[in-house]
Symmetry: C2
Subunit: 333 residues, 2 copies
DNA sequence: CTGTTAGCGCCTTCAG
DNA sequence: CTGAAGGCGCTAACAG
């Protein structure tokens, strides 16, 4: 492996000149620069990240803590991750993967200066990691919106507003009784903030509009869906519309309703809260409030980098949801 | 941040002693060791990873290249990843996440000594990354089994044997016409090795046993499944059994068959090639050849670490599949 | 069993 | 606009 010294010799300059050519932190004459670049190419030189991080106290690595839980939807996670990794590369950062159950991962990667900053997914209302992160001298961004961010940056879709938007849409179509099929019980019990907020938003919106609400948790399985639907549609005032915040159920829903003699949207209107591609995947695309997972991932990286490179203040960014009407919602018949 | 020097002073020893206490690379008296450990605790010392990697040319980081493609099943990926990350931690390594489309990611993390070794997922038959990896001086492990590994380590489930096992099971139950519902067309076209091998194994096994075979590619959507089933069951010799190598379709299959008046296993036996948990998720658990994604991930890490720490030879490890009969396969009626 | 010391490769201040 | 040189924190000979 060639070192910076080798390059300097080959180019007939000093190492500092090579360093500055690379970092652009001072002006170098066109001529010298080209010599240096030529030498770099010739020797196939790459800087040694350890040496760089030792000298500059920057590792150019961001830590991303990902949930590998059964109760969170994997495809949404992947989209977040994709957004994070892609954006990180734009900032010349790499991404280190941490898992939720790596309990002292935060301390390890941070105290050893393995990472410059942290991104935390799947935040809970009173997430025990928050106080830990708040003490660090490295920036951290929460993807989620806890009860008390303790001075940390947060970014997420405004899930409460997402539900409200869905309810408003259905209300405008004349629906007066709406069911909500949400995240699995486990997500609610640990107060994953997206699950809590979506459900709360739904209840509040229905109450405000004087609409009968029937929110239910649901595992992403046929059996659980069947139970939920049976319960909903055997009530005195069965729903004429559903809000579904559970991507895993979308592929199952149409047939489950069909088995009960219900057609979409003739008998039941449905609004999904789901990533765009999940909503578009079906033969009959879902009317949906989209979860811009990729964009949220991007925003999260931008926010850490902002705090790393400048003294931009901490911010809490709630992304405003938007609903696209497609083929699964219609006026109440 | 305390440095090793601070610790040494506090403990009244030299830095090398501290270093050796930490690395265990030479014997230290009980007494000194305890002094050092006490000082470490008191100062809340952590070694600086950059400095360490500079001095030892080991970063303690493994690179993992993950496909973020639409045509690969995300939940299987997550299980691989979980296996990799967990095992990496057992070896005191962290995991850096690279994506397939980060075209020069391999060169970057490798030439800058960001990682000590690489794990590549979703290998294709003639994967263009293989020659690139073969040239490196860092170990790499392929998760998959390409036409020519070029001296690299490989590990994967023996998908051909998985299909053979499934066919044998069905054959023993008396089935003489078997359909195969496999990976999406896109996976086959780029010759993802699991897709190719599973399909090939199916065809070969059927031919050898004189069984009518009907292999089809299928997207993980209701519509695609409907097409595939319609085509299969409108043939002269409709299948009495199916082998399904596509986790995304499992939640949809029962109802799709029911719509056509077919019950499992009375009218159609089904063997899934899928992760254990996917097979067990259904109300009626699937007879399945399991894809031990987590174990494969673990094995992959063990193999890089072997090559990193010792001079164990390169190996190609094909994991022998095993079938568990559950409720979806029965004797041909 | 322990200490001394020379790097590892890069960044950056200080001189020029 | 460029060079010289110290130091970042740790490892691993070498010396005792």
């Amino acid at each position: 492996m060639a070192t910076m010294n080798d390059v300097a010799k080959a180019a007939g300059v000093s190492t500092s000149t090579v360093s500055y050519v690379l970092s652009g932190k001072r002006t170098i004459s066109q001529e010298t620069r080209e010599q240096v670049l030529a030498a770099i190419r010739k020797l196939d030189y790459s800087p040694h990240s350890g040496a760089r991080s030792l000298a500059s106290s920057r590792s150019n690595v961001l830590g991303l803590m990902v949930p590998l839980r059964a109760d969170v939807n994997v495809s949404v996670i992947m989209q977040f991750v994709a957004g994070v990794v892609t954006t990180a590369r734009d900032y010349n950062q790499d991404v280190l993967l941490l898992t939720q159950d790596d309990t002292d991962g935060i301390h390890r990667v941070t105290s050893q200066s393995i990472v410059d900053g942290l991104l935390m997914m799947d935040i809970e209302a009173r997430d025990p990691r928050i106080p830990q992160l708040a003490k660090l001298r490295k920036p951290a961004v929460l993807i989620g919106f806890p009860d008390d961010p303790q001075g940390l940056s947060c970014v997420d879709l405004d899930f409460a507003a997402a539900s409200r938007t869905a309810v408003r849409h259905l209300s405008e179509l004349g629906h007066r009784s709406i069911g909500f099929i949400g995240s699995p019980q486990a997500s609610l019990e640990r107060h994953a903030t997206y699950a809590d907020r979506a459900r709360k938003g739904f209840e509040d919106a229905c109450q405000a509009a004087g609409i009968a609400a029937d929110p239910r948790a649901c595992e992403p399985t046929s059996a659980a869906l069947a139970d939920a639907l049976d319960a909903m549609f055997s009530r005195q005032e069965p729903p004429t519309a559903l809000v579904v915040h559970n991507e895993g159920l979308l592929p199952l829903l149409r047939e489950a309703l069909a088995l009960r003699g219900l057609q979409i949207p003739k008998d039941v209107s449905v609004v999904a809260i789901a990533p765009e591609d999940a909503a578009m995947a079906a033969a009959q695309p879902w009317t949906a409030v989209s979860i811009p997972a990729h964009d949220i991932g991007r925003a999260a990286v931008e926010m850490v980098m902002d705090r790393l490179n400048s003294d931009k203040p901490v911010e809490i960014r709630l992304i405003v949801p938007s609903l696209v009407q497609r083929e699964t919602s219609a006026a109440r018949s």
